[in-house]
Symmetry: C2
Amino acid sequence: MTLSDITIAVDSMGGDHGPSVTIPAALRVLAKHNTLRLILVGDSEVLEQELRAHQSTVDRSRLTIHHTSQRVEMDESPASALRGKKDSSMRVAINLVKDSTADACVSAGNTGALMATARFVLKTLPGIDRPAIISVFPTIIAGKSMHMLDLGANVDSSGEHLFQFAVMGSVLVSALENIPEPKVYVLNIGAEDIKGNDQVKQAAQLISQSNAINYAGYIEGDDIYKGEADLIVCDGFVGNVALKTTEGVAILFIKLLKRAFYQNIYTKLVGLLAKPIMKMLVKWIDPDRYNGASLIGLQGIVIKSHGGANIAAFANAIEQAIAQAEKNIPQLISAKVEHLLKASSKINPEE
Amino acid sequence: MTLSDITIAVDSMGGDHGPSVTIPAALRVLAKHNTLRLILVGDSEVLEQELRAHQSTVDRSRLTIHHTSQRVEMDESPASALRGKKDSSMRVAINLVKDSTADACVSAGNTGALMATARFVLKTLPGIDRPAIISVFPTIIAGKSMHMLDLGANVDSSGEHLFQFAVMGSVLVSALENIPEPKVYVLNIGAEDIKGNDQVKQAAQLISQSNAINYAGYIEGDDIYKGEADLIVCDGFVGNVALKTTEGVAILFIKLLKRAFYQNIYTKLVGLLAKPIMKMLVKWIDPDRYNGASLIGLQGIVIKSHGGANIAAFANAIEQAIAQAEKNIPQLISAKVEHLLKASSKINPEE
């Protein structure tokens, strides 16, 4: 798909900040890509009001408002969102992907509700049992990023599920990062074959036997950010703990750094001198740049932004949606899975 | 137990550096506590040679060498260590705890072998199904530390196992940190009751129903280091990933910080000025100070030092052993479990 054909549906009411972040972010992306079309989904009155505040930059010819009367709350249960919010901005944005009005949708809304609704509306791809959450992370090697899944869509993933995650992740990384054979690792608690739980061992066996995946072995938590892996596969409980622990340690580090610089007149002075250096450090890690996780394995593209995303971060989530629509990620995954299923039926014709 | 009665067995051959770290560390601790007795376990010739290098500081009256002919390699399998290394420094140090010659033992040797050997020789306490690995961590709040278990002894822990970890951990934290009712959290991937896997939900239910534990709720990965929790309970696979991810992020941060300071003449100059501040930062986190995890739930005290520990770090692991011996941690756990079992048999007399 070329950029000129792409339409993205934006859940404009989602996230901690709602339209005050989603609208300026949408306008920023619209201005950057001069053939892109956006559908802003939400309360039309509120959205029009927010748009008026940015009047000078609005190109209305490529921007549609799709009115909805409801909003999924950030702490609402998936069941309540699914049953009671059929005209929510989240649900309707996903519906627009389902009926091919949009090529992808983006939401900063509550993760549980988004997952449940996306799965219910879009369904998983043939041959895929469960969707997963995949995201991209920085590494120690400058310019080298790493993808990891699942980050919390599934708990208690079996070896077969982890294998499917590896297939889907390989397709995505290969297409988005232009890596012909991404190096795939399985997250474990030891590099030796005897370590780990049964699911991880079974996954390693399935992945290493498949020609579709460039399996590189087990990886431990302390090697995640070393830049060797293109893709790391794990259960959603484990991946979510790893992701959030990373956030926790980063916050700990930044707070301790600030405390160290605020000790006395000398350290404060050095802190002042070090400010541009610290800014550079933050720019390297740049959480905004890495905003935008995907719900992978569905018949459609759904991008999940961090709930607390600022304008730059939410704009990056929309960019993620564009990149995945350009590459037709769900179709690529579907083709790969179909190929694998055919290959395995040749080997085991009875199955 | 008072300090004057305490004897610690030191696996002097273990770790990446062996006697060149374990012996000076042992001598440092011996000099600090003037009634402590140490048994240095290992190749007597090698140990004597290392001792001669530190001749001036050696008090031989409180120091014994226990000769052993074998050494467990750092990459040796638990099965090989258990079956083939019956006269290893690791095995004999644990034997000395078993026959009450020593009150605790310390090893920087291979974790898998140490766990398997300790469990085989010492056995679990009555009422405890599985030993766990517990360690202490710094938090954002100055002077406040946090304990976490299991860090890798068990994969696929059931809700009942997690409950036992909570009981053991509460007893240890209460005794070592002088906190009458430590705040216990269960690591999960969301703060809501509906989230998480079945094991975690069952654990939360068991823990919240028990008077023996001050249950505070679920905690997510990004809140681990915020200082609210005294104890965090999780499965060993998950805990190990959290622990190692923490190490990985810390290394990432330090490397990026160095890179930021090494960019040009200005940043290098600021880096020079910032050096004492960075040292202070590292001192706060101080991985040496937090060295020394415990294998908890056994009929004896076994402290696991990091394999790469330096002298200061290994000395801290010995200090951990002393602290636990002083408090009789295994006896305290045993008493608590016995009390719980009696209480539950009163409620369910048929069981």
